[in-house]
């Protein structure tokens, strides 16, 4: 009976939540699109649920927040709790185990997104009917590509299992360190396939790149708008997905701020509330709420990072920068390319780590001077993720605030949706099929975890509602993404 635990009865309020996305489109008297709004049902009950829980439970509990990137929440919470238990620098073994887990997670998450959600759009064109644009047709028409996608995802999941204890909802990141190192057998099992993974990553990357280059005019015109970009970068400006300081640039590539300690987040970012949405709209204070909105995620990271510290990914990063003429790329569709550069980077990092004997060390956990507050940030697959907690002297959580990447991207997604709606709907009083498809593609490009509690990616309905100038509902339509495939 191995790994029998956790199959057991779950009664979590967290498991009952379903996420969905709704877009409302608002017309004026001339039936022109004034604005389109993406409504996201965010599960805010969590911040209350966690109050009163013990600090070491938090990294495990937060994984229930998101069915898509539980590892990111696990690690962000553990990082915040490192700060609470007075540890600012982990032991080499602990930090490298966590990094390995993180790279495995980003790899599998981006791969899932690319093969399952983006590749049908890229290979069939997103004017193709929704029925055609699904993974089952990819499996049928591009079986080798589909097979690689499944195996790459599986590889990422294996890393998560070896580093966190389980494929989903492991428990290895604990305040001040980790509870396990990597065994030699685990290392060998992973090393065996890593070169293959690097190769496939590069091939998939080239597919995304070629698509972008070949469809330059479409990419250019599709939800392409200037914005600021923000991410963590290393002290030398390199891409760093696990740890670093904040850098933000404007649409021309000028630095807005750089090397800001994320623990001072409050001093540079403010959150705006709008009456129609539960989700806040964060903006860069110094730029104000009109111009201060920004994007996070793979595209932002490609724009903010000065370089990438792994050779292959760095070459592709340079390529990407050349394509965008060394200006920030603002094309929503360039996300796919950016995402795959990151996958390549992750696979290279994974190899580097697997060859590092520190992973087998036995110094796992540290403890230091206790603090009352923990703030952590990391770069999750979809962008910067912030966890902020206060903990009392009894070790109980008294305060929790999370800013997930979908929240950071809130304004950007609304812009993208408005942009598409204007282009495909203005002058009509009916939701058209191309409009539905294009909104879906625009939203998908941000890969939002709608509600951040959505359990299965494929079951996320997208509802579009059309309102006239008097705010009367005049049409609605919905579209369901396809379920996640299993290995062919």
């Amino acid at each position: 009976m191995k790994n029998q635990t956790d199959r057991i009865i779950e009664i979590a309020p967290l498991t009952r939540v379903e996420g969905h996305g709704k877009v409302t489109v608002h017309l004026n008297e001339d039936n022109e699109v004034v604005e389109a709004r993406l409504h996201i049902v965010e599960f805010r009950g969590f911040e209350r649920f966690i109050q009163g829980r013990m600090l070491w439970e938090v990294p495990v509990i937060v994984q229930r927040l998101c069915g898509i990137c539980p590892v990111s929440h696990h690690l962000a919470a553990a990082k915040a709790m490192d700060m609470v238990v007075g540890v600012d620098q982990l032991t080499p073994t602990a930090e490298k185990m966590r990094r390995l887990m993180h790279y495995g997670q980003i790899m599998q998450s981006n791969v899932l997104h690319f093969f399952h959600l983006s590749s049908p759009d890229l290979l069939f064109g997103f004017d193709a009917p929704a029925k055609k644009r699904d993974i089952f047709n990819i499996i049928r028409e591009f079986p080798e590509l589909a097979r690689q996608g499944v195996l790459m995802r599986k590889y990422g999941q294996e890393i998560i299992q070896y580093t966190s204890g389980k494929k989903i909802h492991g428990n290895s990141a604990i305040p001040g360190g980790v509870n396990k190192n990597l065994s030699l057998a685990e290392r060998d099992a992973l090393l065996k396939d890593i070169d293959q993974m690097i190769l496939w990553s590069e091939q998939a990357l080239e597919l995304a790149r070629d698509y972008t280059l070949e469809h330059a005019s479409l990419v250019d015109s599709f939800a392409n708008f200037d914005s600021n970009h923000m991410s963590l970068v290393r002290t030398d400006g390199a891409l760093d997905l696990y740890h670093g300081n904040l850098r933000a640039i404007d649409s021309h590539g000028n630095i807005i701020f750089d090397q800001v300690d994320y623990r001072d987040f409050d001093s540079i970012i403010q959150e705006e509330v709008k009456p129609w949405s539960y989700m806040k709209f964060p903006f860069i204070k110094s730029r104000g709420n009109v111009d201060g909105w920004y994007r996070v995620g793979p595209l932002a990271r490609m724009n903010t990072a000065s370089f990438i510290d792994t050779p292959l990914a760095n070459q592709h990063h340079a390529d990407f920068r050349r394509f965008s003429q060394h200006k920030p790329a603002n094309m929503t569709l360039a996300y796919h390319w950016a995402r795959m550069i990151e996958v390549l980077h992750c696979t290279e990092k994974i190899k580097e780590l697997l060859l590092d004997p520190d992973l087998h060390g036995s110094d796992l956990r540290l403890t230091g001077q206790r603090r009352e507050e923990g703030i952590a940030m990391l770069e999750a697959p979809r962008g910067s993720l912030l966890h902020h907690y206060k903990v009392d002297e009894n070790d109980q959580v008294t305060y929790c605030n999370l800013i997930v990447s979908t929240t950071h991207n809130n304004t950007a997604m609304n812009r993208a949706v408005t942009d598409v709606a204007k282009k495909y709907l203005s002058g009509q009083r009916k939701i058209t099929e191309p409009m539905l498809n294009h909104v879906e593609v625009a939203v998908r490009a941000y890969d939002p975890c709608l509600s951040c509690a959505t359990h299965a990616l494929g079951q996320m309905p997208l509802v579009i509602e059309l309102f006239d100038a008097e705010n009367r509902l005049i049409d609605s339509a919905s579209q369901y993404a396809t379920p996640e495939p299993t290995a062919p």
Partner: protein, 269 residues
């Protein structure tokens, strides 16, 4: 073998020898026959309250942990009927408390969870959940009590009273309102100590008595019941030691670890 000191018992068709004065459970344990249990714990007086150890003794249902051995005993334990009782009892414990195993630090070493697995309970019973909301008592510097997970087995009461010579725990309330209470306003005001037997991992079968800052030290796969079914120690006569997976925790020497974002001179970089 039946003599002045010994008796022969028949349990599920197997003949075992018992010493007079033993309970059914003690006799079965010694013979390598496991009877499921929750409120009984080695070294503590049996209390007979959870009824998970129910067996049929000559046709009558008794609690094996308190029932002394008798002559001509014909015992039914691993029968469908008895296991159904046990399943119902264990399921109801899940419904009565608030058990979210995936986020519980007892997961993997919890006897309630392990019992659910042993009995093949894989999904919720069709009863409503009471979903109580009971505050955690985290007042003590080293120990916390999460009553949401308490199964009222009373093991802590007996351990504190009979082994530690203290009276940290007691039952309060009756019926459905029965709870484990502490002998003061909160745990910090009792004479509880982390070194008490009552606070050891052997005593609380679930994740109610929490040893602070030790949660999740054991990786998945290395926890007690990750690899073994509850009762296997008795069935194989190889006692395991219920030890907490200890990982060494180093106190930081700040000199070794300059705070992040600061260089060796303490300047922000």
């Amino acid at each position: 073998m039946s003599d002045k000191d010994h008796l022969t018992l028949n349990i599920d068709g197997q003949k075992i020898t018992a010493k007079r004065g033993q309970t059914l459970m003690q006799a079965c344990d010694a013979a390598g026959v496991y009877i499921p249990r929750l409120c009984d714990s080695e070294g503590l007086e049996p209390q007979g309250s959870c009824r998970v150890c129910s067996v049929k003794l000559n046709g009558r249902v008794v609690a094996a942990c308190t029932q002394p051995v008798v002559a001509n005993a014909h015992i039914e334990s691993e029968t469908e009927e008895i296991n159904r009782y046990r399943k119902d009892l264990v399921s109801m414990l899940f419904h009565e408390g608030n058990h979210l195993c995936p986020i519980c630090e007892a997961s993997g070493r919890c006897e309630l969870q392990a019992m659910a697995y042993r009995l093949g309970i894989s999904q919720a019973a069709p009863h409503p959940y009471l979903e109580p909301v009971r505050p955690v008592d985290a007042s003590h510097p080293d120990i916390a009590l999460d009553n949401n997970r308490c199964i009222l087995c009373g093991r802590c009461i007996r351990a504190s009273r009979d082994v530690d010579g203290k009276h940290v725990f007691e039952y309060i309330g009756r019926g459905i309102h029965k709870r484990i209470g502490v002998n003061a306003d909160c745990l910090a005001e009792t004479d509880a100590s982390i070194d008490d037997h009552a606070m050891s991992l052997e005593v609380c079968p679930v994740g109610c008595i929490i040893r602070k800052r030790e949660g999740f030290f054991a990786p998945v796969g290395e926890r007690l019941y990750d690899t073994e079914v509850i009762g296997r120690d008795i069935e194989t006569q190889q006692p395991h030691h219920h030890s907490l997976h200890k990982i060494e925790v180093k106190q930081i020497d700040p000199a070794d670890f300059p705070p992040f974002n600061k260089d060796d001179n303490g300047d922000t970089v």
